[in-house]
């Protein structure tokens, strides 16, 4: 069950009540651990052994490293890393790597499915090992606490990827029920559900149409699908993260945020400090910084190399395939370009006399379009389709489409649009506008929690009604058309 299913909400309600009925400490630890393992079993069946394997490796590895620190622990560290990364490499990358080199895998291995959340919990566990090795963290002696850190059910499927140093100290689990905190958590869960169940699922429909058959879509439709997909992914992922963070908060555990209004970012590097923050900060702290440090006397070459390599790995983390390599590499190149040209661009805007707020807006729009275009690589079924998208969107036809649409929309003039997706989903632009407006408000401190209670109440009642209606509709088969016979 995904975090946005009614079944999960019911499951969480039960865990929440039991949690606060139990005395703090070990009893709650056992409850959460049992709930996490049951949750994962329900989701991935027999693959729970992979989860347990990673948790065990982290626990044992951490203790070993702690013992041997300073006494040549390098071998132990490398060995522990290899073991903990082995399932990720096996389940996710082996097929791709072998294809790339020309080896064919036996079918039994090639057909292995990817255990849910493997990339997420592996990185969380790996980060823990690295922190212990760097002596930034004491190894966790309590196996239950470490197991919960790796398997914690709100985070296990899709993060945020937490750090041992932030999560483990909170696993005393001794806090009594605080209605304020529980309500704050519920607020987050509510917003997450609105984003995921109402916004994301609605925006997904036109995306599938166009990406499923790119050949037959005119350029403007492709562009619309690209923009919609970026917002769909944002609503989906940010919503999911909020539900996870809200659940943890209700249990008294603070988890780092994963998104900070990314589409308001003025540059690509800044974008990656606000999008999927738990992953990008992980890559920054455990990959980029070590590389950078190693090459610090190599000047620009060192900087560029570290950036490109880190971003490529970030791309490949998302999936095993050449499109993900290009996805990461593209962002790496763009980040480097951005860093090295920002000064000149600043000067250009200043020379043109463009006021700062306008510069910010222009930059945010450009950054968004760049991100959305690179994101195409993430979504297409075939690499060639991505080229179709780029060729079309950056073509004269695109301008023509735009002109026809403006004519038809604003002046009711000209032939009817032959762009079914554009026409049918024009209302969804309001959803996108709502997301952007919401982000601007939140960025400036106007969160839902700060609104007057009456406004909040309306939002909760209407929002929940729509969410429940959506849940009900998706659980039944489509309606039957009456026959007379």
């Amino acid at each position: 069950m995904s975090l946005s299913d009614p079944a999960y909400i019911g499951f969480f309600a039960v865990v929440f009540v039991l949690f606060y009925l139990l005395p703090g400490g070990t009893a709650r630890l056992v409850l959460l651990l049992a709930a996490s393992l049951a949750f994962y079993c329900n989701l991935a069946g027999v693959y729970v052994w992979v989860l347990l394997f990673v948790a065990t490796t982290a626990y044992v590895g951490g203790l070993l490293l702690q013992q041997r620190v300073g006494k040549g622990s390098r071998l132990v560290f490398v060995a522990a890393l290899l073991v903990i990364l082995a399932p990720l490499i096996l389940f996710k990358y082996l097929g791709f790597l072998c294809d790339a080199v020309g080896i064919t895998l036996p079918e039994s291995i090639a057909l292995l499915a990817l255990p849910v959340g493997l990339s997420f919990f592996t990185f969380a566990a790996t980060g823990y090992l690295i922190d212990v090795n760097l002596e930034l963290l004491e190894a966790e002696r309590n196996p239950l606490r470490l197991a919960l850190f790796v398997t914690f059910f709100p985070l296990v499927t899709a993060g945020p990827i937490e750090r041992g140093g932030r999560l483990l100290p909170q696993l005393d689990l001794a806090l009594p029920l605080a209605s304020e905190r529980a309500l704050a958590g519920l607020q987050l869960i509510f917003i997450g559900l609105v984003l995921k169940v109402l916004f994301a699922d609605t925006l997904a429909a036109p995306v599938a149409t166009v990406f499923g058959d790119p050949e037959s879509s005119p350029p403007l439709e492709k562009f619309v699908a690209v923009v919609f997909f970026a917002f769909d992914l944002y609503a989906d992922f940010a919503g999911y993260s909020l539900i996870a963070i809200g659940c943890a908060k209700m249990l008294g555990i603070e988890v780092q945020p994963n998104f900070r209004q990314p589409f308001l970012s003025p540059t690509i590097p800044e974008f990656w400090r606000t999008w999927h923050m738990s992953l990008s900060f992980w890559v920054r702290d455990y990959l980029f910084l070590p590389l950078r440090a190693h090459w610090r006397r190599a000047g620009h070459k060192g900087m560029i190399g570290a950036t490109l390599l880190s971003f490529t790995i970030l791309g490949v983390w998302h999936g095993a395939g050449w499109q993900f390599v290009f996805y990461g590499l593209a962002f790496g190149v763009l980040a480097v370009l951005s860093l090295y040209t920002i000064r000149y661009r600043d000067r250009a805007y200043a020379a043109l006399g463009v006021p700062q707020p306008i510069v910010r807006i222009i930059r945010a729009i450009i950054t968004f379009i760049v991100f959305a275009l690179v994101l195409v690589l993430f979504r297409v079924s075939y690499l060639n389709d991505a080229l179709l998208f780029y060729r079309d969107i950056l073509s004269i036809d695109m301008l023509n489409n735009l002109w026809v649409t403006i004519k038809s929309g604003l002046f009711h003039y000209g032939e009817p649009l032959d762009m079914p997706v554009v026409s049918a989903y024009w209302a969804d632009w309001f959803l996108i506008a709502a997301i952007v407006a919401g982000d601007i408000l939140v960025r400036n401190g106007y969160t839902l929690a700060k609104c007057p209670v009456s406004i909040q109440a309306i939002a909760y009642n209407v929002g929940l009604a729509l969410i429940i209606y959506q849940w009900m509709s998706s659980s039944v088969a489509p309606p039957f058309l009456y026959y007379k016979f």
Binding site: P176, V453, A457, L464, Y469, S473, V476, F480, Y483, F485
Partner: protein, 362 residues
């Protein structure tokens, strides 16, 4: 104090309860509009009978003679009719598609009767229906069913698979139907709400049409369209009026299994091919692609039906009615007068009299 003592102290306990109280209280207060709306919706849906389980509907319908029900999305009325049969335990049941709708209890008096029309279309569905109603030891004395030539065509059962649904409707789907009506046309529901005291089921409340207590349809009164029998969408070649060269062996097997089960349960089988309007008859007679029709109409096959234990009546071509549109609702459905006439003839037949001797007696 140890952690355990601390946890158990009365002050801590009070503050724990206070926090729980506050949490639940705030949620209930803030969400009271939604909860209220939910209660109202459930109340409304129950009041019009859309969320009532069929067993409750059946008991309700026994309460007075004028009570009508029709709910659900219309794809299958099986669970409803099964519930009625379980309650009434009738001696005679009419079974079939819409063509069985016109059978009325008067023709079968003094035997108790239930019309299970618009419920089953194929022989394997007939067999399954019989299995389901005889599960608990009850069995009707006789099953009067539509036996049309097309039921023996190859693959015929595939057309009607989703119309014979043993799964009860879910509460969620029933509620969603009411919500959909409130979204599309709440005033229509509001105007027809007074009907809900003797009519249950969203469709029936909105239209006044539905099933009576005896299973027969209570349609809106009004003159049938005289152009319909000749001009309706049904035609030779359009299902169910399929064309085929031969009777299909697999359907004959289904038929035989049905007959065998009936024999085992001591249920008399009376199969009737009700009249077709002349548009259909003309399209079948003499049609080189209608081999199955010729076979079905042959004496050889009629004897095979009889050998299987079915008392078969072939009223497909009734000269008195075949070309008179006023006796047909459409090209496949003869009206109540025709069916009543046929019922008289059937009940007077010596083979039937032998099984149902009380027929015709006051």
């Amino acid at each position: 104090m140890s952690a355990a003592d601390e946890a158990a102290s009365p002050a801590v306990e009070r503050s724990r309860l206070r926090e729980w109280g506050r949490l639940v209280g705030v949620l209930l207060l803030i969400l009271s509009p939604l909860l209220l709306a939910g209660v109202v919706l459930e109340g409304l849906a129950w009041h019009i009978g859309e969320t009532m389980p069929v067993s409750v509907i059946s008991t309700w319908q026994d309460g007075a003679a004028d009570r009508i029900w029709r709910g659900g999305d219309g794809h299958s009325f099986l669970t409803y009719k099964l519930a009625r049969v379980a309650d009434l335990k009738p001696e005679i049941i009419a079974l079939g598609p819409s063509r069985a709708n016109a059978f009325k209890g008067d023709g079968f008096a003094p035997y108790t009767f239930f019309n299970a029309g618009l419920t089953a279309w194929t022989f394997d569905q007939y067999r399954r229906f019989l299995e389901l109603i005889t599960r608990d030891g009850y069995a009707p004395r006789a099953l009067v069913f539509n036996m049309d030539y097309w039921m023996l065509s190859s693959g015929f059962d595939h057309y009607w698979v989703d119309r014979f649904d043993e799964k009860p409707a879910t509460h969620v789907s029933d509620l969603l139907r009411v919500v959909a009506q409130l979204r599309e046309d709440p005033l229509r529901l509001w105007r027809n709400l007074p009907r809900a005291d003797h009519v249950h089921g969203l469709y029936a409340v909105l239209t006044g049409e539905g099933f009576r207590a005896d299973g027969s349809p209570a349609d809106k009164p009004g003159t049938p369209d005289p152009a319909l029998p000749a001009g309706d969408e049904t035609g030779v070649g359009t299902p169910p009026v399929v064309l085929a060269d031969h009777i299909a062996a697999e359907q004959v097997a289904n038929f035989e299994q049905f007959a065998t089960l009936a024999k085992a349960k001591h249920v008399a089988l009376i199969g009737i091919q009700l009249p077709y309007y002349e548009k259909i008859l003309n399209g079948l007679n003499g049609n080189p692609q209608a081999g199955i029709w010729r076979e079905f109409e042959s004496t050889e096959w009629h004897r095979r039906f009889a050998d299987s234990g079915v008392i078969f009546f072939d009223f497909a071509d009734m000269p008195a009615y075949r070309d008179k549109p006023e006796y047909f609702l459409d090209s496949l459905d003869p009206d109540a007068r025709v069916v009543s006439h046929i019922t008289q003839q059937v009940m007077a037949d010596p083979r039937v009299r032998a099984l149902l001797p009380k027929a015709g007696m006051p």
